[in-house]
């Protein structure tokens, strides 16, 4: 008991000082932190604790890529590809190409044609990009050919759609100028968007949730065949507008889009620029259709349909649509970032305003101070001098949890604070186990030194046993929990790890030193 080696003492003290030093930057506020950062060398920059979205305010949005939408796009593409194939191979059909739930079907005029095109049919949908194998089940019932897209092919497409979505969303959210957005895949078909410290989540939701598929299509003229024209809603006025189904130029050919003002009307507009291919196409269409209204269609809604005054060959143009300044801004962000490959739906939303976050921080702090105050007082009146040791160990314990949260870049959430507060109550358990054991051994007639020794040694097995069970629970919570609950698990687990160090080693060291210098004749507990 008395032999507490010097190196161990130094190591323990060093660990304590380092832990406290790591906590300092989080305590002193951003301004002082900046001053500190200026003084310290680059390898020793102060790090502050990472606050969860529930504490700093922000949006947590879980989106799901609409699988049905992916399937719909796939079947539409398949229908177009099949039509082209039939045309190229000069295969006669009776009736048209029909769309089924998961694919297409067509009746061949001559059932014998099937053998000729069978291989090409199965190549219409590859299993995955750059991979051999067919993503189609092809069946032939005496000339009635059914093409069904396989689950594997759809899964692959969804996977790629999620990857593309993440790329597009990164560009879009960065366009909003927010700090440190976190956009990542969740499971097979979901994308998590986390943006801290945002005031206006509605704008974020608009920016993220819009598909932003931009198309330039001619407005249908009276007398056009009804199959070639569809009626589309308009954003700037009620009523529908007949628009040709054929897409002349697409948004993917845009290279840039910037908000601006119309030089004559001073109305907010979006100026855009095409790549070479888009510029050429746009030039051709505008040259051939001077005088006709040209519809600008975003997600199947007509933004505006200005009349083509003359050929536009410069590869750039302007979209007007009675926008507000913010709408023009949003649209240009969307067009710059590109369209989403499939529709997104919000399946989970958790948004906390910055005011509420600050309230939660204050509430958490207050609870922590009270808990620490009550427990410290209680330990003091129960164990006297030994209570002081336990309290010192407790304070070091709390700074160690905090320091480890900072070092691990773990996120502190409100349940995480609750975890720390709970640990304040539980950390002293190890001290209590040791002290009660010492008392017991002393009552059983042992000398002071042998009671101290027996107390520490016998309580140790119990401390480990009881903490292992708690640690197992914390680990499971970590792996199964999400968001804030995870923060709780981290605090709890760290609290358990540090309690072994502080309650056992530090208390032991303090009691050893105390015994050495005081030489007590009687135990103070």
């Amino acid at each position: 008991m008395l032999r507490f080696p010097l190196w161990k003492t130094i190591l323990t003290l060093a660990a304590t000082l380092i832990a406290i030093a790591i906590c300092v930057p989080s305590m002193i506020g951003p301004e002082n932190r900046a001053k500190l950062a200026a003084v310290l060398p680059s390898w020793l920059q102060p790090q502050s604790i990472v606050l969860g979205l529930d504490l700093q305010g922000g949006a947590h949005l879980l989106y799901e890529v609409d699988r049905a939408d992916v399937v719909k796009t796939m079947t539409q593409n398949l229908r177009d590809d099949l039509r082209r194939l039939l045309r190229e191979e000069k295969v006669g059909v009776s009736g048209g190409v029909g769309v089924t739930a998961r694919g297409v079907q067509v009746r061949l005029a001559d059932p014998k044609d099937f053998a000729r095109i069978q291989t090409k049919l199965s190549q219409l949908v590859p299993l995955a990009a750059n991979a051999p194998g067919s993503g189609l089940d092809v069946s032939n019932d005496d000339g009635l050919v059914r093409l069904t897209i396989t689950d594997a092919a759809i899964d692959n497409k969804v996977k790629r759609a999620v990857e593309q979505t993440i790329e597009v969303l990164n560009r879009r959210v960065n366009g909003l100028g927010t700090t440190e957005p976190n956009i990542q895949r969740q499971g097979a078909d979901r994308v998590l968007v986390e943006v801290p410290g945002l005031q206006d989540t509605n704008r974020l939701k608009e920016i993220v949730g819009t598909t932003a598929k931009l198309e330039f299509r001619l407005v249908g003229e009276p007398g056009a065949p009804p199959g070639d024209v569809e009626q589309l809603d308009q954003t700037d006025q009620p009523g529908k507008l007949p628009v040709e189904k054929q897409v002349m130029v697409e948004g993917e050919d845009l290279t840039d889009a910037q908000p601006g003002f119309d030089s004559r009307t001073n109305e907010p507009v979006v100026n855009f620029r095409f790549n070479i291919r888009g510029g050429q196409k746009f030039g051709q269409v505008t040259s051939a259709n001077v005088g006709r209204p040209f519809a600008i269609v975003l997600d199947n809604k007509v933004i505006s349909a200005p009349r083509i005054l003359g050929p536009i060959t410069g590869g750039s143009g302007q979209i007007s649509g009675r926008f507000t300044v913010e709408q023009a801004n949003n649209l240009s962000i969307l067009l710059r970032a590109g369209a989403l490959p499939a529709k997104l739906t919000i399946v989970e939303e958790r948004t906390v305003g910055p005011g509420l976050g600050q309230d939660s921080i204050d509430a958490g702090k207050r609870a922590a101070y009270w808990a620490a105050g009550l427990v410290v007082t209680y330990m003091l009146i129960t164990y006297g001098t030994f209570g002081v040791f336990a309290n010192l160990a407790l304070l070091i314990h709390i700074s160690m949890i905090f320091a480890m949260l900072v070092l691990l870049r773990a996120t502190l959430t409100l349940p995480g604070i609750a975890g720390i507060v709970l640990t304040i109550g539980m950390a002293v358990d190890s001290n209590v186990l040791i002290y009660e054991r010492i008392r017991e051994e002393s009552h059983a007639g042992r000398s002071i030194i042998s009671a101290l020794d027996a107390g520490f040694n016998r309580a140790f097995a119990t401390i480990v046993d009881s903490n292992v069970t708690m640690f197992v629970v914390a680990a499971i919570l970590y792996f199964l929990g999400s968001g804030p609950v995870r923060g709780f698990a981290v605090s709890l687990a760290l609290g358990i790890l540090t309690t072994i160090v502080t309650a056992v080693t530090m208390t032991r060291m303090m009691i050893a030193l105390w015994y050495k210098y005081r030489r007590p004749t009687k135990l103070p507990i």
């Binding site: 739906t345 958790r350 009550l374 507060v421 109550g425 140790f460 197992v472 999400s482 609950v485």
Partner: protein, 317 residues
């Protein structure tokens, strides 16, 4: 200085004698809890039931609860729950899943936003769709089941099988009574409540392990002592520590309940109940189980064959 003692010195309470009372008593409470759960049910938060929770704060003056409540009829949102909490300016609005899925839910939130206009600040917006809530239910259940088995496995490895059985009976007891607590108080049950339940499981086992550790130690020391007497002695020996720790944890939780704010109040209250139940069960449920499971018989039988040459378990780490 006179130091505070919660438990008198050297208590000799005959705890095991109470087992004829505590067992039936706890059995009844457990059954009542199950019945409450089945017939009254818990107040599931949107994490598990799906739906939307909004917290709004009036920008000036008080929140007009009856006006907000009237929204229900105007907006046709179905079940709409409006409550004041915290300051008079605060109100929470909760409504279930709207027919038409996730997109319809967003439309509904937008409607409320428009209806409340600029007079209210939206401090919290939470929407959980049906698929996500289903998954959260699954994860929560899985978490509770896995942690019980994992901890059991550890106990099995560290102690005799009777101890493990005793521990699981005590833990199940605590779990059921906590479920009963949620049913009777109608505190909102959400993902943090699952965290509370798991922490109670952890705490309950912690308590149980401390008692069991001592029983095991006593078994090695007093080989001929009758089991009930031996358990009584062990429980009395750890009693000061049990009360002391329960009090410190209670004090920490009390601070959380009073000052920790609305979000974690149900967590803290459940935990408070949990430590009370866990302390009770470690003494009155887990330990008597050892007697019922015939720890003594096995002990004396083994003592005769090995003549006490080997300790019953190593107990070293």
């Amino acid at each position: 200085m006179k130091l505070l003692r919660l438990a008198p010195e050297n208590t000799k309470f005959p705890f095991m004698r109470f087992r004829r009372v505590s067992y039936p008593f706890s059995a009844v409470l457990s059954i009542v809890s199950v019945l409450l759960f089945l017939f009254v049910g818990m107040n599931f938060g949107i994490d598990f039931s799906g739906g939307t929770l909004l917290e709004v704060q009036a920008k000036s003056g008080k929140a007009d609860l009856s006006y907000i409540r009237d929204l229900s009829e105007h907006l046709n949102l179905g079940d709409l729950e409006v409550q004041g909490f915290g300051t008079p300016a605060d109100a929470s609005i909760r409504f279930g899943m709207q027919p038409g899925g996730d997109a319809a839910q967003q439309v509904a939130v937008e409607k409320v936003r428009k209806a409340l206009g600029d007079a209210y600040e939206f401090r919290r917006v939470e929407t959980v769709g049906p698929r996500v809530s289903g998954e959260l239910v699954q994860q929560g259940t899985l978490g509770v089941v896995i942690s019980i088995f994992a901890v059991l496995a550890y106990l099995w490895f560290r102690f005799e099988w009777q101890f493990a059985i005793g521990a699981i009976i005590a833990t199940m007891h605590d779990l059921l009574l906590t479920v009963g607590f949620f049913s009777i108080t109608q505190l909102e049950f959400n993902t943090t409540s699952i965290a509370a339940i798991l922490t109670i499981v952890g705490y309950s086992l912690n308590e149980t392990v401390v008692v069991l550790d001592r029983i095991r130690e006593m078994m090695r020391k007093y080989k001929r002592m009758p089991t009930d007497q031996l358990i009584d002695m062990s429980v009395n020996a750890v009693l000061p520590r049990t009360l002391m720790t329960a009090t410190t944890v209670f004090l920490a939780l009390l601070s959380l309940v009073v000052f920790g704010g609305n979000v974690i109040r149900s967590f803290s209250l459940a935990m408070m109940w949990g430590i009370f139940v866990a302390t009770y069960s470690s003494i009155f449920i887990c330990s008597p189980t050892l007697i019922y499971l015939g720890l003594r018989n096995e002990r004396s039988a083994r003592d005769e064959t090995t003549a006490g040459a080997k300790p019953l378990s190593s107990g070293k780490l």
